[in-house]
Protein backbone atom coordinates (compact mmCIF):
# COMPACT_ATOMS: atom_id res chain seq x y z
CA UNK A 1 0.00 0.00 0.00
CA UNK A 2 2.71 2.45 0.94
CA UNK A 3 4.46 1.55 -2.26
CA UNK A 4 1.37 2.46 -4.33
CA UNK A 5 0.93 5.74 -2.53
CA UNK A 6 4.55 6.60 -2.98
CA UNK A 7 4.38 5.92 -6.68
CA UNK A 8 1.26 8.02 -7.03
CA UNK A 9 2.65 10.95 -5.08
CA UNK A 10 5.86 10.87 -7.10
CA UNK A 11 3.85 10.72 -10.27
CA UNK A 12 1.87 13.67 -9.10
CA UNK A 13 4.98 15.74 -8.55
CA UNK A 14 6.43 14.55 -11.78
CA UNK A 15 3.40 15.78 -13.70
CA UNK A 16 3.46 18.98 -11.73
CA UNK A 17 7.08 19.56 -12.56
CA UNK A 18 6.38 18.99 -16.23
CA UNK A 19 3.58 21.46 -16.09
CA UNK A 20 5.87 24.07 -14.70
CA UNK A 21 8.33 23.54 -17.52
CA UNK A 22 5.69 23.54 -20.24
CA UNK A 23 5.65 26.24 -22.88
CA UNK A 24 4.02 29.53 -21.98
CA UNK A 25 0.27 29.55 -22.22
CA UNK A 26 -0.59 32.63 -24.20
CA UNK A 27 -3.81 34.32 -23.55
CA UNK A 28 -4.71 36.58 -26.40
CA UNK A 29 -6.38 39.74 -25.29
CA UNK A 30 -9.22 40.04 -27.74
CA UNK A 31 -8.38 43.05 -29.87
CA UNK A 32 -10.92 45.33 -31.42
CA UNK A 33 -10.03 45.47 -35.05
CA UNK A 34 -10.69 48.81 -36.65
CA UNK A 35 -11.60 48.32 -40.28
CA UNK A 36 -10.91 51.49 -42.18
CA UNK A 37 -13.35 50.46 -44.89
CA UNK A 38 -16.17 50.67 -42.39
CA UNK A 39 -14.85 53.28 -39.98
CA UNK A 40 -12.12 55.39 -41.56
CA UNK A 41 -12.73 58.04 -38.94
CA UNK A 42 -11.38 55.69 -36.27
CA UNK A 43 -7.98 55.51 -37.90
CA UNK A 44 -6.01 58.59 -36.90
CA UNK A 45 -4.27 60.48 -39.67
CA UNK A 46 -0.80 59.90 -38.17
CA UNK A 47 -1.44 56.15 -38.18
CA UNK A 48 -2.66 56.27 -41.77
CA UNK A 49 0.36 58.28 -42.81
CA UNK A 50 2.75 55.91 -41.05
CA UNK A 51 1.19 52.89 -42.72
CA UNK A 52 1.21 54.57 -46.10
CA UNK A 53 4.72 55.98 -45.83
CA UNK A 54 6.21 52.67 -44.77
CA UNK A 55 4.34 50.73 -47.44
CA UNK A 56 5.28 53.03 -50.29
CA UNK A 57 8.83 53.84 -49.26
CA UNK A 58 11.87 51.84 -50.18
CA UNK A 59 15.25 51.25 -48.63
CA UNK A 60 18.30 53.25 -49.53
CA UNK A 61 19.21 51.11 -52.51
CA UNK A 62 15.94 50.01 -54.06
CA UNK A 63 15.90 47.46 -56.82
CA UNK A 64 14.46 48.36 -60.19
CA UNK A 65 11.38 46.32 -59.33
CA UNK A 66 10.95 48.26 -56.11
CA UNK A 67 11.30 51.54 -57.94
CA UNK A 68 8.78 50.46 -60.56
CA UNK A 69 6.35 49.40 -57.89
CA UNK A 70 6.81 52.65 -56.06
CA UNK A 71 6.19 54.65 -59.23
CA UNK A 72 2.99 52.75 -59.89
CA UNK A 73 1.89 53.32 -56.34
CA UNK A 74 2.63 57.02 -56.44
CA UNK A 75 0.79 57.39 -59.73
CA UNK A 76 -2.39 56.69 -57.83
CA UNK A 77 -1.93 59.88 -55.86
CA UNK A 78 -2.51 62.00 -58.95
CA UNK A 79 0.58 64.08 -58.19
CA UNK A 80 2.33 65.81 -61.05
CA UNK A 81 5.79 64.60 -62.01
CA UNK A 82 7.71 67.22 -60.06
CA UNK A 83 5.76 66.53 -56.88
CA UNK A 84 6.11 62.80 -57.33
CA UNK A 85 9.85 63.04 -57.67
CA UNK A 86 10.05 65.23 -54.61
CA UNK A 87 7.91 62.82 -52.65
CA UNK A 88 10.15 59.93 -53.66
CA UNK A 89 13.07 61.73 -52.09
CA UNK A 90 11.08 62.48 -48.93
CA UNK A 91 10.04 58.85 -48.70
CA UNK A 92 13.62 57.67 -48.88
CA UNK A 93 14.60 59.92 -45.98
CA UNK A 94 11.59 58.81 -44.01
CA UNK A 95 12.35 55.15 -44.46
CA UNK A 96 15.96 55.51 -43.39
CA UNK A 97 14.91 57.25 -40.17
CA UNK A 98 12.07 54.83 -39.56
CA UNK A 99 14.31 51.80 -39.90
CA UNK A 100 16.89 53.36 -37.61
CA UNK A 101 14.33 54.13 -34.91
CA UNK A 102 12.90 50.62 -35.04
CA UNK A 103 16.34 49.02 -35.04
CA UNK A 104 17.40 51.06 -32.00
CA UNK A 105 14.26 50.15 -30.12
CA UNK A 106 14.50 46.48 -30.98
CA UNK A 107 18.09 46.35 -29.79
CA UNK A 108 17.00 47.85 -26.49
CA UNK A 109 13.96 45.62 -26.20
CA UNK A 110 16.04 42.56 -26.85
CA UNK A 111 18.44 43.51 -24.08
CA UNK A 112 15.74 44.61 -21.68
CA UNK A 113 12.21 43.32 -22.08
CA UNK A 114 10.88 46.19 -19.98
CA UNK A 115 11.90 48.76 -22.58
CA UNK A 116 8.94 51.04 -23.05
CA UNK A 117 7.53 50.73 -26.55
CA UNK A 118 5.70 54.01 -26.11
CA UNK A 119 8.99 55.82 -26.42
CA UNK A 120 9.33 54.34 -29.88
CA UNK A 121 5.75 55.09 -30.75
CA UNK A 122 6.24 58.71 -29.80
CA UNK A 123 9.35 58.91 -31.94
CA UNK A 124 7.52 57.33 -34.87
CA UNK A 125 4.69 59.81 -34.49
CA UNK A 126 7.21 62.65 -34.44
CA UNK A 127 8.88 61.26 -37.53
CA UNK A 128 5.58 61.01 -39.33
CA UNK A 129 4.72 64.56 -38.38
CA UNK A 130 8.07 65.92 -39.49
CA UNK A 131 7.70 64.03 -42.75
CA UNK A 132 4.28 65.54 -43.27
CA UNK A 133 5.79 68.96 -42.59
CA UNK A 134 8.48 68.27 -45.15
CA UNK A 135 5.89 67.18 -47.68
CA UNK A 136 3.98 70.38 -47.06
CA UNK A 137 7.12 72.42 -47.55
CA UNK A 138 8.57 70.70 -50.59
CA UNK A 139 5.57 69.71 -52.63
CA UNK A 140 3.36 72.25 -54.31
CA UNK A 141 0.41 73.37 -52.23
CA UNK A 142 -1.93 71.54 -54.53
CA UNK A 143 0.26 68.45 -54.48
CA UNK A 144 0.44 68.33 -50.71
CA UNK A 145 -3.31 68.72 -50.48
CA UNK A 146 -3.82 66.03 -53.09
CA UNK A 147 -1.51 63.65 -51.26
CA UNK A 148 -3.27 64.28 -47.97
CA UNK A 149 -6.64 63.56 -49.54
CA UNK A 150 -5.21 60.40 -51.03
CA UNK A 151 -3.72 59.12 -47.77
CA UNK A 152 -6.96 59.79 -45.95
CA UNK A 153 -8.89 57.99 -48.67
CA UNK A 154 -6.55 55.02 -48.30
CA UNK A 155 -7.82 54.38 -44.78
CA UNK A 156 -10.37 52.17 -46.46
CA UNK A 157 -7.53 49.76 -47.16
CA UNK A 158 -6.22 49.74 -43.62
CA UNK A 159 -7.02 47.65 -40.60
CA UNK A 160 -5.56 48.17 -37.20
CA UNK A 161 -5.77 47.17 -33.57
CA UNK A 162 -3.36 49.90 -32.54
CA UNK A 163 -4.95 51.89 -29.81
CA UNK A 164 -8.22 50.02 -30.15
CA UNK A 165 -9.90 49.34 -26.85
Amino acid sequence: MIRYVTVLVLSMFAFGARAQNSPPHHQLAAPNMIDGAAHPELIPDPTAYRLYLVAVSTGQNPTEAERTHQRANLMRTGLVDADRQMLTSVLSDFRAKYDALVADYNASAKADSTTDVHTLLKKLDDLVQSTRDTIGARLSAGGAAKLHAFVVSEKKNMKTTEGAE
Binding site: Y4, A19, P24, P31, A55, T68, A72, N106, S113, E162
Partner: protein, 341 residues
Protein backbone atom coordinates in the same frame (compact mmCIF):
# COMPACT_ATOMS: atom_id res chain seq x y z
CA UNK B 1 -9.91 -1.01 0.20
CA UNK B 2 -6.68 -0.69 -1.62
CA UNK B 3 -8.50 0.01 -4.85
CA UNK B 4 -10.65 2.65 -3.25
CA UNK B 5 -7.58 4.30 -1.83
CA UNK B 6 -5.91 4.21 -5.21
CA UNK B 7 -8.93 5.81 -6.89
CA UNK B 8 -9.08 8.53 -4.30
CA UNK B 9 -5.41 9.31 -4.55
CA UNK B 10 -5.54 9.16 -8.34
CA UNK B 11 -8.37 11.65 -8.44
CA UNK B 12 -6.55 13.96 -6.09
CA UNK B 13 -3.46 13.72 -8.24
CA UNK B 14 -5.39 14.62 -11.36
CA UNK B 15 -6.99 17.61 -9.75
CA UNK B 16 -3.74 18.74 -8.27
CA UNK B 17 -1.89 18.31 -11.51
CA UNK B 18 -4.42 20.38 -13.42
CA UNK B 19 -4.30 23.11 -10.89
CA UNK B 20 -0.56 23.17 -11.13
CA UNK B 21 -0.78 23.56 -14.85
CA UNK B 22 -3.28 26.31 -14.56
CA UNK B 23 -1.97 28.05 -11.58
CA UNK B 24 1.76 27.82 -11.88
CA UNK B 25 2.36 27.27 -15.64
CA UNK B 26 3.74 30.17 -17.58
CA UNK B 27 0.72 32.18 -18.61
CA UNK B 28 1.29 35.16 -20.86
CA UNK B 29 -1.16 37.78 -21.99
CA UNK B 30 -0.58 39.12 -25.48
CA UNK B 31 -2.10 42.39 -26.56
CA UNK B 32 -1.54 42.68 -30.32
CA UNK B 33 -1.02 46.20 -31.61
CA UNK B 34 -0.71 45.64 -35.33
CA UNK B 35 -1.88 47.31 -38.50
CA UNK B 36 -2.18 46.09 -42.04
CA UNK B 37 -2.35 48.18 -45.19
CA UNK B 38 -3.11 46.67 -48.57
CA UNK B 39 -3.02 48.52 -51.83
CA UNK B 40 -3.24 47.77 -55.50
CA UNK B 41 -2.33 49.88 -58.45
CA UNK B 42 -1.76 49.51 -62.15
CA UNK B 43 -0.07 51.21 -65.03
CA UNK B 44 -2.27 49.75 -67.68
CA UNK B 45 -0.31 46.62 -68.42
CA UNK B 46 0.88 45.69 -64.95
CA UNK B 47 -0.99 45.15 -61.73
CA UNK B 48 0.87 45.97 -58.56
CA UNK B 49 -0.21 44.83 -55.13
CA UNK B 50 1.29 45.58 -51.78
CA UNK B 51 0.61 44.24 -48.31
CA UNK B 52 2.27 45.81 -45.35
CA UNK B 53 2.09 44.95 -41.66
CA UNK B 54 3.52 46.93 -38.77
CA UNK B 55 3.26 46.77 -35.05
CA UNK B 56 4.15 45.04 -31.84
CA UNK B 57 2.64 43.04 -29.02
CA UNK B 58 2.16 44.24 -25.51
CA UNK B 59 3.14 41.32 -23.33
CA UNK B 60 2.30 40.62 -19.72
CA UNK B 61 4.21 37.49 -18.80
CA UNK B 62 3.03 35.55 -15.80
CA UNK B 63 5.33 34.62 -12.92
CA UNK B 64 7.89 32.05 -13.85
CA UNK B 65 7.67 32.78 -17.56
CA UNK B 66 10.96 32.81 -19.31
CA UNK B 67 10.16 34.92 -22.32
CA UNK B 68 13.69 34.82 -23.59
CA UNK B 69 12.84 31.50 -25.17
CA UNK B 70 10.21 33.04 -27.39
CA UNK B 71 10.69 35.00 -30.58
CA UNK B 72 8.17 36.84 -32.65
CA UNK B 73 8.01 37.91 -36.26
CA UNK B 74 5.41 39.19 -38.69
CA UNK B 75 4.49 38.12 -42.18
CA UNK B 76 2.78 39.85 -45.08
CA UNK B 77 0.94 37.57 -47.48
CA UNK B 78 0.24 38.72 -51.00
CA UNK B 79 -1.60 36.08 -53.01
CA UNK B 80 -2.13 37.50 -56.46
CA UNK B 81 -3.77 35.46 -59.19
CA UNK B 82 -3.56 32.36 -56.95
CA UNK B 83 0.19 32.62 -56.58
CA UNK B 84 1.08 32.95 -52.92
CA UNK B 85 3.92 35.10 -51.66
CA UNK B 86 5.01 35.88 -48.14
CA UNK B 87 7.50 38.34 -46.80
CA UNK B 88 8.55 37.87 -43.20
CA UNK B 89 10.36 40.14 -40.86
CA UNK B 90 13.37 38.87 -39.04
CA UNK B 91 12.74 37.09 -35.77
CA UNK B 92 12.92 39.37 -32.81
CA UNK B 93 12.19 39.58 -29.15
CA UNK B 94 8.54 39.29 -28.10
CA UNK B 95 8.33 43.00 -27.35
CA UNK B 96 10.14 44.07 -30.50
CA UNK B 97 8.53 46.24 -33.16
CA UNK B 98 8.05 44.60 -36.53
CA UNK B 99 7.21 45.54 -40.05
CA UNK B 100 7.12 43.63 -43.29
CA UNK B 101 5.94 44.53 -46.77
CA UNK B 102 5.35 42.28 -49.73
CA UNK B 103 4.92 43.69 -53.20
CA UNK B 104 3.94 41.73 -56.26
CA UNK B 105 3.08 42.47 -59.85
CA UNK B 106 1.64 40.68 -62.83
CA UNK B 107 0.81 41.67 -66.35
CA UNK B 108 -2.88 42.36 -66.51
CA UNK B 109 -5.07 41.53 -69.44
CA UNK B 110 -8.08 43.73 -70.13
CA UNK B 111 -11.30 42.01 -69.28
CA UNK B 112 -9.69 39.61 -66.82
CA UNK B 113 -10.32 39.98 -63.10
CA UNK B 114 -7.48 38.70 -60.97
CA UNK B 115 -8.03 37.25 -57.53
CA UNK B 116 -6.13 38.82 -54.71
CA UNK B 117 -5.83 37.75 -51.08
CA UNK B 118 -3.84 39.73 -48.58
CA UNK B 119 -3.01 38.84 -45.03
CA UNK B 120 -0.87 40.14 -42.24
CA UNK B 121 0.14 37.85 -39.43
CA UNK B 122 2.00 38.14 -36.17
CA UNK B 123 3.66 34.90 -35.25
CA UNK B 124 5.14 33.59 -32.01
CA UNK B 125 7.77 30.87 -32.08
CA UNK B 126 5.93 29.03 -29.34
CA UNK B 127 2.23 29.42 -30.01
CA UNK B 128 2.31 30.23 -33.71
CA UNK B 129 0.15 32.88 -35.32
CA UNK B 130 -1.52 35.02 -32.70
CA UNK B 131 -2.88 37.83 -34.85
CA UNK B 132 -3.93 38.20 -38.42
CA UNK B 133 -5.90 40.46 -40.66
CA UNK B 134 -6.92 39.43 -44.13
CA UNK B 135 -8.38 41.22 -47.10
CA UNK B 136 -8.16 41.36 -50.85
CA UNK B 137 -10.63 41.24 -53.68
CA UNK B 138 -10.74 41.14 -57.44
CA UNK B 139 -8.50 43.36 -59.52
CA UNK B 140 -9.48 44.08 -63.11
CA UNK B 141 -6.69 43.84 -65.64
CA UNK B 142 -7.90 47.08 -67.06
CA UNK B 143 -11.21 48.85 -67.04
CA UNK B 144 -12.33 48.73 -70.62
CA UNK B 145 -15.79 49.53 -71.91
CA UNK B 146 -17.49 46.84 -73.90
CA UNK B 147 -19.95 49.23 -75.47
CA UNK B 148 -19.86 52.79 -76.71
CA UNK B 149 -23.00 54.37 -78.03
CA UNK B 150 -23.05 57.54 -80.08
CA UNK B 151 -25.70 60.23 -80.05
CA UNK B 152 -25.94 63.17 -82.42
CA UNK B 153 -26.19 66.43 -80.52
CA UNK B 154 -26.67 68.70 -83.50
CA UNK B 155 -24.61 71.09 -85.55
CA UNK B 156 -22.58 73.93 -84.14
CA UNK B 157 -22.50 76.72 -86.68
CA UNK B 158 -19.91 78.59 -84.67
CA UNK B 159 -17.32 75.94 -85.32
CA UNK B 160 -18.89 74.29 -88.35
CA UNK B 161 -18.94 70.92 -86.67
CA UNK B 162 -21.47 68.21 -85.98
CA UNK B 163 -21.39 67.31 -82.28
CA UNK B 164 -21.55 63.74 -81.07
CA UNK B 165 -21.87 62.53 -77.50
CA UNK B 166 -20.74 59.05 -76.50
CA UNK B 167 -21.74 56.80 -73.62
CA UNK B 168 -19.52 53.99 -72.32
CA UNK B 169 -20.69 50.90 -70.53
CA UNK B 170 -19.75 47.36 -69.65
CA UNK B 171 -21.58 44.40 -68.24
CA UNK B 172 -20.31 45.07 -64.72
CA UNK B 173 -21.83 48.56 -64.82
CA UNK B 174 -18.47 50.07 -63.99
CA UNK B 175 -17.86 53.74 -63.78
CA UNK B 176 -15.44 55.08 -66.35
CA UNK B 177 -15.65 58.60 -65.05
CA UNK B 178 -12.36 60.46 -64.96
CA UNK B 179 -10.72 58.00 -67.31
CA UNK B 180 -9.32 59.54 -70.45
CA UNK B 181 -10.33 58.36 -73.88
CA UNK B 182 -8.35 59.21 -76.95
CA UNK B 183 -8.79 58.84 -80.68
CA UNK B 184 -6.20 57.65 -83.12
CA UNK B 185 -6.07 56.99 -86.84
CA UNK B 186 -6.59 53.33 -87.57
CA UNK B 187 -5.59 53.75 -91.19
CA UNK B 188 -5.46 56.77 -93.50
CA UNK B 189 -8.87 57.80 -94.69
CA UNK B 190 -10.21 58.64 -98.11
CA UNK B 191 -11.43 61.91 -99.45
CA UNK B 192 -13.89 62.00 -102.33
CA UNK B 193 -13.96 65.80 -102.10
CA UNK B 194 -10.27 66.18 -102.80
CA UNK B 195 -8.51 67.39 -105.90
CA UNK B 196 -4.87 68.21 -106.24
CA UNK B 197 -5.16 71.97 -105.85
CA UNK B 198 -7.96 71.88 -103.32
CA UNK B 199 -5.72 72.42 -100.33
CA UNK B 200 -7.55 69.58 -98.67
CA UNK B 201 -6.05 66.49 -97.13
CA UNK B 202 -6.25 63.55 -99.48
CA UNK B 203 -6.05 60.90 -96.79
CA UNK B 204 -7.41 62.46 -93.63
CA UNK B 205 -6.99 61.09 -90.14
CA UNK B 206 -8.01 62.00 -86.64
CA UNK B 207 -6.58 64.84 -84.61
CA UNK B 208 -5.59 62.42 -81.83
CA UNK B 209 -7.77 64.34 -79.45
CA UNK B 210 -8.63 63.13 -75.99
CA UNK B 211 -11.58 63.58 -73.72
CA UNK B 212 -12.32 63.00 -70.06
CA UNK B 213 -15.13 60.57 -69.40
CA UNK B 214 -17.74 62.10 -67.15
CA UNK B 215 -17.54 65.45 -68.89
CA UNK B 216 -19.22 67.02 -71.88
CA UNK B 217 -17.81 70.24 -73.26
CA UNK B 218 -15.66 70.38 -70.15
CA UNK B 219 -18.65 70.27 -67.85
CA UNK B 220 -18.77 67.50 -65.26
CA UNK B 221 -21.81 65.49 -64.37
CA UNK B 222 -22.09 63.33 -67.45
CA UNK B 223 -21.64 59.88 -65.94
CA UNK B 224 -19.80 57.55 -68.30
CA UNK B 225 -20.24 60.02 -71.14
CA UNK B 226 -17.71 61.96 -73.10
CA UNK B 227 -17.70 64.49 -75.85
CA UNK B 228 -18.40 66.27 -77.92
CA UNK B 229 -16.58 64.64 -80.75
CA UNK B 230 -16.81 67.47 -83.29
CA UNK B 231 -16.76 66.29 -86.85
CA UNK B 232 -16.70 68.37 -89.97
CA UNK B 233 -14.89 70.59 -92.42
CA UNK B 234 -14.16 74.19 -91.75
CA UNK B 235 -16.67 76.40 -93.45
CA UNK B 236 -14.10 77.79 -95.83
CA UNK B 237 -13.32 74.28 -96.99
CA UNK B 238 -16.98 73.50 -97.48
CA UNK B 239 -17.27 76.66 -99.48
CA UNK B 240 -14.27 75.69 -101.56
CA UNK B 241 -15.58 72.20 -102.21
CA UNK B 242 -18.97 73.39 -103.36
CA UNK B 243 -17.77 76.34 -105.40
CA UNK B 244 -14.80 74.68 -107.10
CA UNK B 245 -15.31 70.98 -106.79
CA UNK B 246 -17.32 70.38 -109.93
CA UNK B 247 -14.73 72.16 -112.05
CA UNK B 248 -12.16 69.71 -110.74
CA UNK B 249 -14.16 66.58 -111.33
CA UNK B 250 -15.70 66.17 -107.92
CA UNK B 251 -18.91 64.22 -108.02
CA UNK B 252 -21.52 65.30 -105.51
CA UNK B 253 -22.35 64.35 -102.93
CA UNK B 254 -18.70 63.77 -102.10
CA UNK B 255 -17.71 61.78 -99.07
CA UNK B 256 -14.70 62.06 -96.80
CA UNK B 257 -13.99 59.08 -94.58
CA UNK B 258 -11.87 58.91 -91.44
CA UNK B 259 -11.05 55.68 -89.70
CA UNK B 260 -11.10 56.49 -86.04
CA UNK B 261 -9.84 54.20 -83.32
CA UNK B 262 -10.70 54.78 -79.69
CA UNK B 263 -8.45 54.10 -76.71
CA UNK B 264 -9.02 54.32 -73.01
CA UNK B 265 -6.31 55.13 -70.56
CA UNK B 266 -6.05 52.53 -67.85
CA UNK B 267 -3.47 54.50 -65.96
CA UNK B 268 -0.05 56.02 -66.32
CA UNK B 269 -0.62 57.10 -69.90
CA UNK B 270 -1.04 53.55 -71.11
CA UNK B 271 -3.89 53.17 -73.54
CA UNK B 272 -5.97 50.23 -74.59
CA UNK B 273 -7.81 50.23 -77.88
CA UNK B 274 -11.44 49.51 -77.23
CA UNK B 275 -13.14 50.11 -80.55
CA UNK B 276 -12.91 51.55 -84.02
CA UNK B 277 -15.38 53.79 -85.80
CA UNK B 278 -15.90 55.16 -89.23
CA UNK B 279 -16.45 58.89 -89.48
CA UNK B 280 -17.85 60.37 -92.66
CA UNK B 281 -18.50 63.88 -93.84
CA UNK B 282 -20.68 64.16 -96.88
CA UNK B 283 -20.93 67.40 -98.80
CA UNK B 284 -23.51 68.11 -101.45
CA UNK B 285 -23.44 70.87 -103.99
CA UNK B 286 -26.70 72.25 -102.71
CA UNK B 287 -24.66 73.65 -99.80
CA UNK B 288 -25.60 70.95 -97.40
CA UNK B 289 -23.41 68.71 -95.29
CA UNK B 290 -23.96 65.81 -92.98
CA UNK B 291 -21.63 63.94 -90.64
CA UNK B 292 -21.79 60.43 -89.34
CA UNK B 293 -20.04 58.72 -86.46
CA UNK B 294 -20.29 54.99 -85.85
CA UNK B 295 -23.34 54.81 -88.06
CA UNK B 296 -25.12 57.68 -86.35
CA UNK B 297 -25.70 60.50 -88.80
CA UNK B 298 -26.83 64.06 -88.59
CA UNK B 299 -29.49 65.55 -90.76
CA UNK B 300 -28.39 67.35 -93.87
CA UNK B 301 -27.43 70.81 -92.73
CA UNK B 302 -27.46 73.85 -94.93
CA UNK B 303 -24.16 75.57 -94.35
CA UNK B 304 -24.95 78.64 -96.45
CA UNK B 305 -27.47 80.27 -94.20
CA UNK B 306 -26.77 78.95 -90.80
CA UNK B 307 -26.42 82.16 -88.80
CA UNK B 308 -28.99 84.85 -89.06
CA UNK B 309 -29.67 84.11 -92.65
CA UNK B 310 -26.20 85.25 -93.66
CA UNK B 311 -24.94 84.03 -96.94
CA UNK B 312 -22.12 81.63 -97.20
CA UNK B 313 -19.60 84.26 -98.25
CA UNK B 314 -20.62 86.64 -95.50
CA UNK B 315 -20.48 83.86 -92.99
CA UNK B 316 -17.00 82.83 -93.99
CA UNK B 317 -15.78 86.38 -93.84
CA UNK B 318 -17.21 86.90 -90.40
CA UNK B 319 -15.79 83.62 -89.31
CA UNK B 320 -12.31 84.45 -90.50
CA UNK B 321 -12.34 87.82 -88.79
CA UNK B 322 -13.48 86.26 -85.57
CA UNK B 323 -11.06 83.41 -85.56
CA UNK B 324 -8.11 85.05 -87.21
CA UNK B 325 -7.18 81.71 -88.60
CA UNK B 326 -6.24 80.65 -92.05
CA UNK B 327 -8.42 78.38 -94.10
CA UNK B 328 -8.28 74.79 -93.00
CA UNK B 329 -7.48 71.87 -95.13
CA UNK B 330 -8.40 68.93 -92.98
CA UNK B 331 -11.70 67.69 -91.69
CA UNK B 332 -11.64 67.40 -87.97
CA UNK B 333 -12.81 65.34 -85.12
CA UNK B 334 -11.94 67.42 -82.13
CA UNK B 335 -12.70 67.22 -78.45
CA UNK B 336 -14.21 70.50 -77.51
CA UNK B 337 -15.39 73.80 -78.76
CA UNK B 338 -12.33 75.63 -79.91
CA UNK B 339 -11.28 77.96 -82.63
CA UNK B 340 -10.94 76.37 -85.97
CA UNK B 341 -7.34 76.38 -86.97
Amino acid sequence: MNRAMLFLLGSLMLLFNCSVTKGQGCRTVLQPEFSVYQSSSGDGYNIYTSVSIQGYANIAPGPGCNMSAATHHVGAENKLNNVDHWTYSANGCPTCYFSATNTESIVGVPGVVYSWISDGQAICSIVGSFWNSSGGGGIPGCLVPSTETTADEGFSGAISRELFQQTLSDTAVDSFDNHLVQEYTVTPGTNGCWWSTSGLVQNPGTQNSHWTVGQYSGVSGYHNQWGPDEIGWDLVDLDNIVQNGSAHGIIFPCVTTIYQGMQIECSANVWFNYRTDTLTITVDDDHTVKACRAGVCSEWVDFSYRIGGKTETQWVRIFRLDSGGSPRSSPQSVPSVREVR
